[in-house]
């Protein structure tokens, strides 16, 4: 096989990322205004208040979404906020339940008392609107098959008026539906932890106030981890992201130097 320039670019990327992961290190990041706003919002919730967390992502983005979700869950559990987990994507169901259970265990939180996972409901718009009318009718049972009425934490939780806010953990555009239907129709406060690629998509919603707060990408996860004072995989992965970004910049410059040189030679 003939080695081409793209193969060298692939090998180079793999080498720099692997070295960065092996070297490790935790950067000292200055938290952005977005991360601080989210941190203040979660910190302002009274212990015992109920927050709905929606795992609106697929398994493919777990390396980026996982640290974001864990940072949020750690902060919420440490503040005594009660969490109701749901998922608008089937794949987010298994991940959401496991993340809540693992993180809940770190803070001695009890399933059914401090947190609960209701699971997946197909057709996201229908699920969001239906929960606005009645959560118990939308989810007669939780993910583990317990009846809604038998779960102590859910006593008195009828619809969004009994929930302090929704936090959507998303790698795509599903958070938009929370804002367009949950916020616009039922007035629920929507915040989000999103993949870096989605940050610019949600910026107009954040600026207009339709979204209350947003934290994005691995950098957002690392910043949030530093704000809550708990180390996590966001900070650990930041060095790998940094070298990958710098590597891409070097490739862009290199590609353009070659392009302009070849153009110059062609003119001659």
């Amino acid at each position: 096989m003939k080695i081409e320039s793209r193969h060298l670019a692939f090998i180079g990327l793999a080498v720099v990322v692997v070295i960065a992961m092996l070297v490790g290190g935790r950067p000292d990041l200055t938290p952005s205004a977005d991360s601080v706003r989210m941190h203040e919002y979660i910190a302002s919730l009274a212990p015992g208040s109920v927050v709905m967390v929606s795992f609106d992502h697929e398994a493919s983005s777990l390396p980026e979404i996982g640290p974001l979700a864990k940072a949020f869950l750690r902060h919420a559990f440490s503040r005594g906020v009660k969490l109701v987990g749901v998922s608008l994507l089937a794949e987010g169901t298994g991940i959401g339940y496991r993340l809540m259970e693992e993180t809940g265990r770190e803070y001695d939180c009890e399933y059914g008392k401090d947190f609960v996972f209701l699971g997946f409901k197909p057709q996201w718009v229908a699920a969001i609107v239906a929960m606005g009318e009645s959560i118990s009718k939308t989810y007669p049972e939780d993910y583990l098959g317990n009846t809604y009425q038998d779960i102590p934490m859910l006593a008195g939780v009828v619809n969004y008026s009994d929930v302090a806010g929704v936090v959507s953990i998303a790698d795509g555009s599903l958070t938009t539906h929370w804002m367009e239907y949950g916020h616009a129709r039922y007035g629920i406060t929507v915040s989000a932890f999103v993949a870096a690629a989605m940050v610019t998509t949600y910026d107009p919603y954040l600026a207009s106030g339709q979204m209350h707060a947003m934290v994005g990408g691995l950098r957002g996860a690392a910043e949030y981890e530093s704000l809550i004072g708990v180390g996590g995989s966001g900070g650990r992965a930041m060095l790998a992201q940094t070298v990958a970004h710098l590597y891409v910049i070097v490739l862009i410059i290199l590609g353009n130097v070659v392009y302009f040189r070849s153009r110059h030679t062609g003119r001659k």
Binding site: A9, P27, A59, P63, G94, A126, E133, R219, G255
Partner: protein, 208 residues
């Protein structure tokens, strides 16, 4: 009649859902709840059934023809084994279903997604060229965004972070808003055309 009747049903149901969504009347709320909680779920269940049957049919036909036989068999085994594992041992932590999900599905999907980084690396070298003034500005903005989302951004002056933030909150957000407004107006127009019976492509081709 074969085309008029579905059009009429679509228009009337569309109009009804439009009204009940915006109304706070108890009857409207009740209809809204029934439609979203029950009817949409039934439609989804049928759509899922169509998907599963179609997936199985296409793969079985492919196996018969001998095309990518191994991959198709693995796909079908995956399709059948996950519900079977869930039905027999449940879906709780430590169940075989979750083990397969964590150790097969998640790494496979993450791997495929991670391949994007390699495409970006290749595109950076061979495709991202400053062929014109606007292309140069776009490349520069991309580089600023890349640096600001890494540790290096913190090592630079505060003005650099401010500049990156300015790009995000002004040119980038303006473009995004324009796209969103365009999508909104497009969706609204298409919905109205469907409700009024002007858009009929969803009915399929008219038989002569």
């Amino acid at each position: 009649m074969r085309r008029k009747f579905p059009q009429l049903v679509c228009g009337l149901i569309g109009l009804l859902l439009f009204v009940v969504y915006f109304s706070r009347h108890p009857i409207a709320s009740s209809i809204n709840e029934t439609v979203t909680r029950e009817y949409w779920q039934i439609v989804f269940a049928f759509a899922l059934l169509v998907g599963v049957v179609s997936f199985a049919k296409i793969n079985l036909q492919g196996i018969e023809r001998g095309e990518d036989r191994l991959y198709r068999i693995i796909s079908l085994v995956g399709l059948i084994s996950m519900p079977v594992l869930a039905l027999i041992w449940g879906i709780g932590t430590g169940s075989p279903f979750m083990w397969v999900f964590d150790n097969v599905q998640v790494p496979m999907q993450s791997t495929v997604f991670a391949l994007l980084a390699f495409f970006v690396a290749s595109a950076s070298l061979r495709g991202f060229r400053a062929r014109s003034g606007p292309a140069f500005i776009l490349l520069l903005a991309a580089m600023v965004a890349l640096i600001s989302r890494s540790d290096v951004g913190d090592l630079m002056s505060a003005r650099f972070s401010d500049f990156a933030e300015w790009i995000r909150s002004n040119p980038s957000m303006s473009a995004r808003r324009a796209i969103l407004i365009g999508i909104g107006l497009g969706s609204l127009t298409t919905s109205l055309r469907v409700l009024l019976g002007l858009e009929r492509t969803w009915l399929g081709k008219e038989s002569k």
